[in-house]
Symmetry: C2
Subunit: 667 residues, 2 copies
């Protein structure tokens, strides 16, 4: 066959592929690669949209998900929300066209960003069942809802409306309901619709979610708070890491007529001063016309941007879950396993990847009933959406694997890979643009900046874990020593005395000499809406001791009248100090206080601090941190108590070693 | 803010997103997520296209890849091939438009399938450097090459030609050269352009690849064979697992006017008899008009297809690498570590996923200088393309993790996860459509049918490994026993004889009674273009032995004149048998033979077989397989020698337990 004809034959075969045709043939890219996962994907896309719409309109979401079994393979999924609704004219494109949406161009945190999800779901349903989807929506003030039966013409990527009606929908003021048929398989377990909704509820405590499973059983995830997360603000692109191509497009499109104004008005965090600095660092006149900038001058500008220090983006374009909610969410999930320790969650400051702000949050839970001989469990979230699949492809997993957990008390062969131990590691990445590895949005790409931030957060949280484990070990050792001393010494004394025919001596002084420790124990009991805290202080030192003890209580809850000793100070309604009386050697002193107005589980761990005594002699309380006056003691506490500061770990902004990337990837 | 306005505001923001705009913002999905990887991706897309085009035209590929450093971040990549060329009119769309191509609709194995790769690469280059790409192509018989400078209008996903010329390109008869600038980083190591090209050469031994690195150094991967892999045949969709939607589209589009003809002519492997069976199983008249089939009758048809046994697809739409080339490729790579064992590669028969034929090949290498205290190395290939990234996301990795390697002699905590040990596992998946997890084509989705096939192939290959390790252990044990016996018994005898004042007895009979084994050792030496093989047979049994010994030599290489004993038979020029003379107890017999005309490394391992003796008494040779007459002895050998058939493992087609999928995924 002469080669010209190959070229001609190839040319003849070449044609355009419509985006929906592409995804029809590659639906695994959208996450529709197994029946179980497909059903979860379908629910997820519809719920993501509902949550986004409610957040957009600042409404408390009330979402109902129903899955009905049609036959052996086919299910019907219905998702209804109380959101602002969709304009009747927009409905065909929203539900029937891929790559169509409102959030793609916005620099703001949201769940949907691609304009693919719900229409891809409808397309998948149509491919596997041959049936149309039905969408109904009512906007506030409208008299009726619009309802459409819709399929997608995949060759053209255009909606085809099979039926449209206006129908009364008096039960609701506004909202959207979409239902579609799809092949799938309903299961229970770690990767299931139920689990997806449960994890969604954890990180969206303002949402109320009702789930009706195929057996008709109702599951109800009530909202834990009526406070909406603040609506994330849309910002301009941040100049850090911006791509040359993007910069050139922006320069071409701007309305500004000088470079300095362009920088100042089209970018996030560029003040006039910074804009001038950039111009000077780029060696470009401030009056340069952006629209006339050449490739060369754009490259200079990019270099200039790289030389000027620009503030990190505002946090308000992002919606972190926050330490309290992370802790609460985890506690809620782990009710049954009763972990021994919740490391204070770490929320990092916003950073930027390719001009997109992002931040990382990490929480670690340890011990209790968590399985000891397995790899740790990883909970991954991106913009408050749980990621159940493709753990191995995710930068979160890579960052965990790339961290030497042996330093933080977990078992890990060779210091890399997923560690073993009774722990859960939760990581949330929030960004105005999450760089997912595929349209299925199941895993985050290994962007070096993001991996670095996750690793720093993991290390910070890991240090809390290590501190706890060190304390536990120290306490266990001291307790063991104490028990041995208390048992053996009297026996030895008795025996010796018997042999020598002398009376058994008083050994308390000897024991205290050996122990040389002030031992502090605390316990909390809850009864009739009140927490009672008992603190017991044993002076096992050979000297008398006089010191102060401090703790933090939930604001305004301390019942000062019911303290066994009046506090010497109560600061900001939460920082309580007691000046203890003199405690002589071998004496035991008991202190108690009461809290009122709290839920039972709202106060379980007592963190105690001491001052006026060398803290190396104290077991069961930490030295009072230097910033007792400062907010967020919980966090700084462990840093102050850090037993072995680790010189190898630069906590803040190490120069990122890019040469590591080929080694770190895919290990 | 009233909600209507939210709906209106959202509606106003909604717009179409062009596919190139989408990938511009989500270039990590295309694999452009780090500078190192981007450079590899760019080379890969261009090389994939070159190999595909040459294969299409049945030409032996001659490909030159050059990478030049422009500045700190910027590189220029040039890839030139001797393929059939691209028609001048097609060039703009091929290089300047995403989702445009000739291979998307074909049911045939090829590297590119998406119509995204090269244009996405050019787009990435344009975004990061602002520079146009240059493409030049000449088709056979043309007087000049067409050359264009091209950029992509990402808002419209359309090519923009900045320059076009016809220029003489007399050095070549036909071919294509594309060069583009991109931000990247050139590195060496496990994930590098060099490694990608090296692995490409391994699985494409018919290609000649020249690589000029940024330092100007030339690396040359010569072709190992002049035989082109047969051009894969385009086939019709196979009915197995076909989607309802696809079926409905096919029924609507067919030219056939009866169901039975439609089935027979539009599908792979459906004969008239099978077509009739399907009609009857579907309870649809054979004369049904396909174009008028309803949703209900299409569903019935799908059910009917599921009930009828349909032949697996022909292998000729696929291009397996083949056991020999896998072994050769691996040997080539592992020259320096000298592994102790290459398990005979396993190639499974073609199977079907969603109507797409596929097959799986697996090879395992063990021991030698491979690192012992690390996880095994995994080499992944899809349609002869090495996959260097996203190992954790790939069904190949999942299948490996899901296999209990402890049964096959590798260390693996809890029987799941990537095993540890001195081994390399190579897996190649060939398919008319590889279901990649994303457009970056770095990992294969967890399609249950594919995972199952990989696991079966891994187990089959794992059994070879286990057989080898068992033999080795048995041999080591026997050798240890032998050494002890040979050392201790004479010492004991001497001592005892001394005490009793008697002469030291002849112990050979005693030793053979204890050992009771025929020990066969072999060694190969290479000198002056000849292989000399020495086989030593020790009769450590108390009886005389008479048996035959057999081996396979490369065809026609045996120099019969130089055998120490004339063979009793030489079958097919390669199967050689010797009838050995009687060997008395404690006697040592030596056999030698020579081979000529082979490269040094072409003959290193001697596989010996015995007959006429109970094989349980023989160390160092296997029982002669029952199918000594059948080709592929290498493979059946280990199965015959299988020491412990494993009842828990169904080798062929276990009913796939779908309920496993939620557990297996992402572990």
């Amino acid at each position: 066959m002469p080669s010209t004809s190959t070229a001609q034959r190839l040319a003849k075969g070449q044609k355009e592929i419509s985006v929906s045709e592409f995804f029809e043939k590659n639906r695994q890219i959208l996450g529709f690669d197994s029946p179980v996962k497909s059903l979860i994907m379908g629910v997820k896309e519809a719920v993501d949209n509902a949550l986004d719409a409610c957040e957009e309109a600042q409404m408390l979401p009330d979402i109902t998900v129903q899955i009905e079994k049609v036959d052996q393979k086919e299910y019907r999924v219905t998702v209804e929300d109380n959101g602002p609704g969709i304009m009747p004219t927009s409905m065909p494109n929203v539900f029937g066209r891929l790559l169509y949406g409102s959030r793609f161009h916005a620099v703001r945190q949201s769940r949907g960003q691609q304009g693919i999800g719900i229409s891809a779901t409808i397309m998948y349903g149509q491919i596997t069942t041959g049936k149309a989807a039905t969408a109904r929506s009512k906007v506030e003030g409208a008299e009726a809802a619009k309802e459409i039966d819709i399929v997608i013409d995949t060759k053209k990527n255009m909606p085809v409306i099979l039926r449209e009606d206006y129908i009364p929908w008096n039960e609701v003021e506004h909202g959207t309901r979409v239902s579609f048929y799809m092949n799938g398989r309903y299961v229970n377990g770690r990767q299931s619709v139920y689990e997806y909704l449960r994890q969604t509820a954890i990180v969206n405590p303002h949402a109320r979610i009702t789930f009706i499973d195929p057996d008709g059983k109702r599951h109800f995830f009530d909202r834990a708070t009526d406070v909406l997360p603040p609506r994330t603000k849309e910002i301009k692109p941040h100049p850090d890491g911006i791509e040359l191509g993007t910069l050139m497009n922006m320069a071409k499109a701007t309305k500004e007529r000088s470079l300095v104004k362009f920088l100042q008005n089209d970018f996030n965090r560029v003040s006039e001063r910074v804009a001038r600095e950039i111009c000077s660092a780029s060696m470009l006149p401030e009056t340069t016309r952006p629209s006339q900038m050449t490739l060369e001058s754009c490259k200079k500008l990019l270099d200039g941007i790289g030389q000027v220090k620009i503030m990190a983006p505002q946090v308000d374009c992002l919606s972190p879950i926050g330490g309290n909610l992370i802790r609460k969410g985890l506690k809620h999930v782990l009710d049954d396993v009763k972990p021994e320790f919740y490391a204070p969650p770490v929320t990092r400051d916003p950073k930027v990847h390719s001009g997109n702000p992002f931040l990382v949050e990490v929480g670690i839970v340890y011990g209790g009933g968590l399985p000891r001989d397995q790899t740790v469990q990883i909970y991954r979230f991106a913009n408050r959406v749980p990621l159940l699949y493709q753990q191995g492809a995710c930068v979160i997993t890579k960052a965990i694997e790339n961290t030497d957990w042996r330093r933080y008390g977990l078992e890990q062969r060779g210091g890399s890979g997923i560690p073993f131990g009774p722990a859960i590691i939760l990581v949330h990445v929030a960004s105005t643009k999450i760089p997912f590895t595929s349209e299925a949005k199941e895993a985050i790409s290994s962007i070096p900046q993001i991996q670095e931030e996750i690793e720093l957060a993991l290390k910070a949280c890991g240090r809390h874990l290590k501190t706890h484990l060190n304390k536990r070990e120290q306490k266990n050792k001291t307790r063991a020593k104490f028990e041995i001393v208390q048992e053996i010494i009297p026996l030895m004394a008795e025996k010796t005395a018997g042999i020598l025919g002398k009376p058994v001596p008083d050994l308390r002084g000897t024991i205290t000499k050996i122990m040389d420790v002030v031992w502090i124990d605390s316990s909390v009991t809850f009864e009739k809406g009140r927490h009672k805290v008992d603190v017991t202080i044993y002076n096992y030192t050979p000297k008398q001791q006089r010191f102060s003890i401090h703790t933090i209580v939930p604001n305004g809850c301390l019942d000062e009248k019911r303290c066994s000793l009046a506090p010497s100070e109560v600061k900001d309604g939460e920082k309580v100090s007691w000046e203890l009386p003199r405690i002589t050697s071998t004496e035991i002193y008991k202190l108690s206080y009461e809290l009122s107005g709290l839920d039972a589980e709202a106060y379980q761990d007592v963190d105690l601090y001491v001052s006026g005594i060398n803290p190396v002699y104290v077991m069961g309380a930490d030295p009072l941190p230097g910033d007792w006056d400062v907010e967020g003691l919980n966090y700084t506490e462990s840093e102050a108590a850090e037993p072995e500061p680790d010189p190898e770990e630069a906590e803040e902004e190490p120069d990122y070693d890019e040469s590591g990337e080929d080694l770190n990837d895919d290990q």
